[in-house]
Amino acid sequence: MTKSTFSLSNSLGLLALLLIMIALPFAIALFDGQSPAAVLGSETGSAKFIQGLLIEVFILAIYALSYDLVLGVTGLLSFGHAMFFAVGAYWTGIAFKSLGWGVGVTLLALVAAAVVQALLFGVVLARVKGITFALVTLGLASVFHIIIQATEFSTYTGADVGLQGVVVPEWIDTVDQRFRFYVIALLATFGFYLLYRRFVDSPTGRVCVAIRENEERALALGYNTFYFKLIALLLASITAAFAGFLHTVHQPIVSPNVASLGFTVAALLMILIGGVGTLSGAILGAAVFRLLEYYLERWFGPSASFLLGLIYIGLVFFLPYGIIGTWHISGFRLKGVTWLLERGRSQN
């Protein structure tokens, strides 16, 4: 009755996975006939390349996790989630390039910016629900998308070309210090995952789940549901902004696409692939999303997006609860997609 999601075997499994991920670049270097020690220097070759690809997976995973907290756990359908990521990405770029700030100050200011935008979404949250909330958040994000492309601010944002020429502090420069940055991104992913697990398992997180299940009932029990939804948004906003920070450091350019509706839909796709409301599904979904996209493009060229579409249709058809969700279906822990479908139906 009172089981926790934290068990010893669970923790050992996670630790093993973490160690394997840290060892992976060395193994690839060895396989390539390079010295494993080369990974620590500014090595080239496939070990470096695959680390780069995995860093992108980690960044998307953190971003998808934050969307899963909003949609999958708390049940808030936001179509403006890309803005949470884009604020982090642009802010980091502007702080490094135009303001010449260090990493510490930039991150502190980033948290402040994330809190402000979550409060902005909170103002909407206090007034509208369901599909109206989705549309208003879409509107907010679109305004942001337009502002960063406006020529008036092009000295800061680069307008529709995007933010280029960002100078990243040397110690996390992903060209020279790829392995270091790989480990940072890996640890951040694990850290956020554990933090989110912990949150969902807390009295507060449990109320968020209750709100997704039946908000009217949660109110009648005496929960002021607004504050719980706001907490979920705050946590997600800070998380996604951090993913945006890693994105800018890694690239180090920022395209206005990260503020587009398409990038919110990408998050939706990732958690649908992995399993809505499962957290681990968000990470797995991000990996499938990015790796499929990359390898299909490499193998099939321009027809890749057609194949991707087919694969996604197949996934939704055969794994309607996502990979993790369908895996768990024997229990009843996974309810994300049914919930989403039912909600869609009841609103028609």
């Binding site: 912990r198 807390s202 009295p203 449990r206 789940v209 009932r217 029990l221 929960y223």
Partner: protein, 253 residues
């Protein structure tokens, strides 16, 4: 002694329809006060006004002498007014135990402990275990609420209102849709709770045998107004009530 709950000329209009028309009522502490009346008499709307689900058009609601007319529903819950629903209203995909545990946690002061596992908060766990036992759902405690049969869901609904230990329970047709052979068990449970815990219960119910047997006082509503009020026998003997409502449902003989 002052009544636990009183309303003064409480009124709610939906456009031209007057659902509750200037109802003044007093509910004494420790009694089981039933509200009966034909469908559409305004009973459920009256409940919605009492606990803040709906705002009244005019009039006042006092709980323990304190004005609660304009308090939202999550505030009245904290004052000790619990409410169950006519249509089963639960968290369908959460376990029976978690449904009741959430109800127990609601009025505590740990709702904003963001990063400590819920199972460390033993008070709510123990309270939920006791309530699951009380309403007789121990065997189903780990099942998702949605797969329970209807009768068991009604018990769960009762458990969710009992978990925070409210002083006043507003029960809106707790036996709605239950098989008739299950009704006595639930009613016995409600009576037991009221007498042992010295609770005040307001009950909306259509089963007249139940109402006549368990009530200390009955208020009859019709077209949003109070038609009659009194002890069960007085209501059964009241001619106006017989014509408007009871005629086909209950006769004292």
């Amino acid at each position: 002694m002052a009544p636990l709950l009183e309303t003064h000329a409480l009124r709610r209009e939906f456009g031209a329809l007057v659902a509750v028309a200037d109802v003044s009522m007093q509910v004494e502490q420790g009694t089981l006060h039933s509200i009966i009346g034909p469908n559409g008499a305004g009973k459920t709307t009256f409940f919605n006004l009492l606990n803040g689900t709906l705002k009244p058009t005019s009039g006042r609601v006092l709980f323990k002498g304190q004005e609660i007319t304009h308090l939202p529903v999550h505030r009245t819950a904290h004052l000790g007014i619990g409410r169950s629903f006519q249509i089963t209203n639960i968290f369908p995909n959460l376990s029976v135990f978690e449904n009741i545990r959430l109800a127990a946690q609601a009025l505590g002061s740990d709702n904003f402990k963001l990063f400590r596992p819920f199972h460390r908060f033993k008070t709510y766990i123990e309270r939920a275990e006791a309530v699951v036992d009380l309403v007789g759902l121990s065997a189903q405690a780990d099942q998702p609420a949605r797969i329970l049969p209807h009768g068991a869901q009604r018990k769960l609904e009762l458990g969710m209102i009992l978990a925070p230990d409210p002083e006043l329970l507003l029960l809106d047709e707790p036996t709605a849709g239950m098989a008739s052979e299950q009704v006595p068990e639930l009613i016995a449970l409600i009576q037991n709770i009221q007498q042992k815990g010295n609770k005040t219960i307001m009950l909306v119910e259509h089963n007249m045998n139940v109402v006549m047997n368990v009530s200390d006082k009955i208020t009859v509503m019709n077209y949003g107004q109070v038609l009659a009020e009194g002890a069960p026998q007085e209501i059964a003997d009241n001619e106006a009530v017989q014509t408007a409502y009871l005629g086909e449902l209950y006769s004292p003989e």
